[in-house]
Symmetry: C2
Subunit: 450 residues, 2 copies
């Protein structure tokens, strides 16, 4: 038969079974963490009508979109989860209850040039709170606590959430007479971490006609040890700025009540998150030991989710985790906790008699007790069957020979310690359960000891 | 701003939040049911190279495929989960341990003509066991128990698993001298339930030159009350037939040990499941009260999963649930258990003071106790906030006014009974927990009382 060489497209993550279990465990934790904060799960189509998906149009994103026709219909694969959310909320606005809190963990598609760490199909894990006309600042204050609890539940410890407010930035530019160059200034200060304050100043002054002393004022503000204190003297001169400082103050104020430790949170006036979309609090999250990775969870407050679809004013706040990329970073850095069980089963049952009924009945008992069980009835040597369990990391094997069957018992072997005992089915359930409980409890991420 | 009318493509399921929760609950049950049987989760790309996905080529499916180019690459969206599995196993054969047991619950795409009950994007929930060169018959015997346990866990009671064996059918055709017309005969007897035995006989005799007495023999066999007994006298004349009867006998024999009640299982010699793919046991599952829906879970044994990609012989057995269609049937028939909580949260916390810190701290306590909690801090009237909880079906509201805060307490209101009590945070946790436990425990499917 003519054969085709099997391959998986580059830029598409396809994991081996043990890694997949680790990935899924992270997804489970995200789901339960988001659920704890009262977000409802949503699932929207991966394909949308192009005119709907590209209503906003233009930009870099459009070139990356997987777009095609089927019959007469111009279709596109979603490139993020925000545009489908906007469509969903605009379409179903009369059936939804606001504030509408949803999470979605799903694949999105971007046909980027393939390169290391870039995926063409990748999971995003998003939450958004959408208000009907208005949305209280407390929603913005809650987001860092969700980020903190989520990454903590995943097992990450050394990370920091950075927060800023776009009203503060825009107000500041107005105060400094930089309104016209606001976009350019924002893009330039975004490079601060990369190129340092001297070069930023040079660009501001030389390329964007910012007066040297204004650039100094701006840069010293952005570099302030205590940003909230540094902003204080500027209050009372610009309404937008004052509102921004007030919002930022509220966000900071409630961090303790939300259970976010001080060392996991900071105000960083250099964070902007793009030019047009965000209008209030913005968020970034960095791994302290891997700043080169960039932000692993970002988002912010916006004023108009669905202006391309509806006149209804839908302000919101949301964050997104690029899960596929995060997972590949964690894997590359040795952050995945390989001590957790990734085997497809907890017990491998090995029948040793012609009649399989007793072994099958025992497997049925284990499953009814919630223990993940495989029966191995292939015509293989005993040693090969144990090697199968070993390769998969299955923690227990159970043998049922003539002796065991006559006694109404089963021999259970702990494949880690090598210990084995012949017990009743009920005792076997208890034994396996307590053994599994002792192994469980770890988080999917384990940071290397420093 | 120029606006685009938001819409979701026809043939694409998009659920409102409460329904989505019900759908997700079913997915969760499928995941844990499949896991109990030792299947490992897999996730493969939704997009594959067309030459890989269409290696088998031809047929009805190819017309339905979403196929397009990006750059120079000819791409297709997967139309099932079996071909991607074949690719995966062929590609990673040296890194996998056999028998390889995997489940995958994911969306597939078929650009069919849109009609009621047909979806262009739909979830399939598949399990497969793949052997390396050989695969024992016990794997085929295990499948009905997985089907039984899975649907029982979902809450479905009135269903029956029908089993046949392709070797029996093919052997039977050989015995009856119908080898040449085997395909036509199989397609015709597949219509038995629809058009009845007289018309089937007429077609067999008139269109496919089956002798009348042979047609009678065949039809009486297929209609036998006890199919296994009816097959018995034919043994010893055809090797394939004998092997098939032996396999079918093994499958039937172990049903009790696997915990499948007799009334949920039957041998049905009319089941064929297509012409070329399956080679051993085949399965269908029907809802007793809705036979018109057809099979809700089907599959079978095949000899060669990946012959288009590798010389390695990879026999397997698998089943698939068309989850999106099943869900729409359950919804239409009123089978979804609306008594289960579909709210995004268990408790809605309503701060009644300017300083939100005590309410936020209480919400944090609830979340740390695993209780799904929303804070409602919008500038709305108290009545509107309660109506929000009511619309979403949130079971509890918690108020923190000056009085409560001074006493270090909170007022918890059961929104179903209207009862309210002022208690400490710890007491509130216990109260909500026991209330939720009392409501929980139902399955997602609830059959109407007959």
């Amino acid at each position: 038969m003519a054969q085709i060489k099997p391959r998986t497209l580059s830029g598409f993550m396809e994991l081996l079974p043990a890694r997949q279990v680790q990935f899924d465990r992270m997804v489970d934790i995200l789901r339960s963490s988001y659920s704890l904060y009262g977000f409802t799960p949503l699932d929207t189509p991966a394909i949308e009508a192009s005119e709907v998906l590209l209503a906003k149009g233009g930009g870099e994103t459009e070139k990356q979109i997987y777009r095609f026709t089927k019959g007469d219909t111009d279709l596109s694969l979603r490139f993020d989860l925000t545009v489908p959310l906007a469509k969903y909320v605009a379409l179903h606005q009369n059936e939804l209850t606001f504030p509408f809190r949803r999470f979605q963990i799903a694949k999105v598609y971007r046909g980027e040039r393939a390169q290391k760490g870039r995926y063409r199909e990748f999971y995003q894990a998003d939450i958004d709170v959408i208000g009907d006309g208005s949305l209280d600042i407390t929603n913005e204050a809650e987001i860092p606590s969700i980020i903190y609890k989520t990454f903590t539940a995943l097992g990450l410890k050394r990370f920091k959430i950075r927060v800023n407010n776009r009203k503060v930035l825009n107000g500041l530019f107005a105060l400094l007479g930089l309104e016209e160059q606001a976009g350019d200034v924002m893009r330039t200060i975004d490079k601060l971490e990369k190129i340092g304050p001297e070069k930023v100043k040079a660009i501001l002054v030389d390329d964007f006609a910012v007066p040297a002393d204004t650039a100094d004022t701006l840069l010293s503000l952005l570099a302030a040890e205590d940003p909230m204190a540094a902003l204080e003297p500027l209050r009372g001169k610009n309404e937008l700025f004052d509102l921004g400082v007030e919002e930022l103050t509220t966000v900071v104020k409630y961090m303790a009540a939300y259970g976010v430790p001080q060392d996991h949170f900071m105000v960083d006036l250099t964070i902007a998150r793009g030019l047009d979309y965000y209008t209030g609090t913005v968020y970034e999250t960095v791994m302290l030991d891997h700043p080169e990775v960039g932000s692993i969870c970002s988002g912010g407050r916006y004023d108009n989710l669905a202006e391309y679809y509806t006149d209804k004013q839908l302000p919101g706040v949301g964050i997104s985790i690029g899960l596929t990329r995060l997972f590949s970073v964690l894997e590359a850095q040795g952050y995945l906790n390989d001590a957790l069980i990734t085997a497809p089963a907890d017990v491998l049952v090995l029948p040793m008699t012609e009649d399989l009924a007793p072994a099958i009945a025992f497997a049925t008992t284990l499953r009814e007790a919630g223990i993940r069980t495989q029966l191995h009835c292939e015509k293989k040597k005993f040693k090969q069957k144990l090697s199968y369990a070993d390769k998969l990391g299955i923690p227990y094997a159970a043998f049922l020979g003539e002796d065991e069957i006559q006694q109404g018992k089963v021999t259970v072997k702990d494949l880690t310690s090598g210990e084995q005992q012949t017990v009743t089915a009920d005792e076997a359930v208890a034994l396996v359960r307590s053994g599994l409980a002792a192994r469980a409890g770890g988080a999917p991420i384990r940071e290397p000891q420093n």
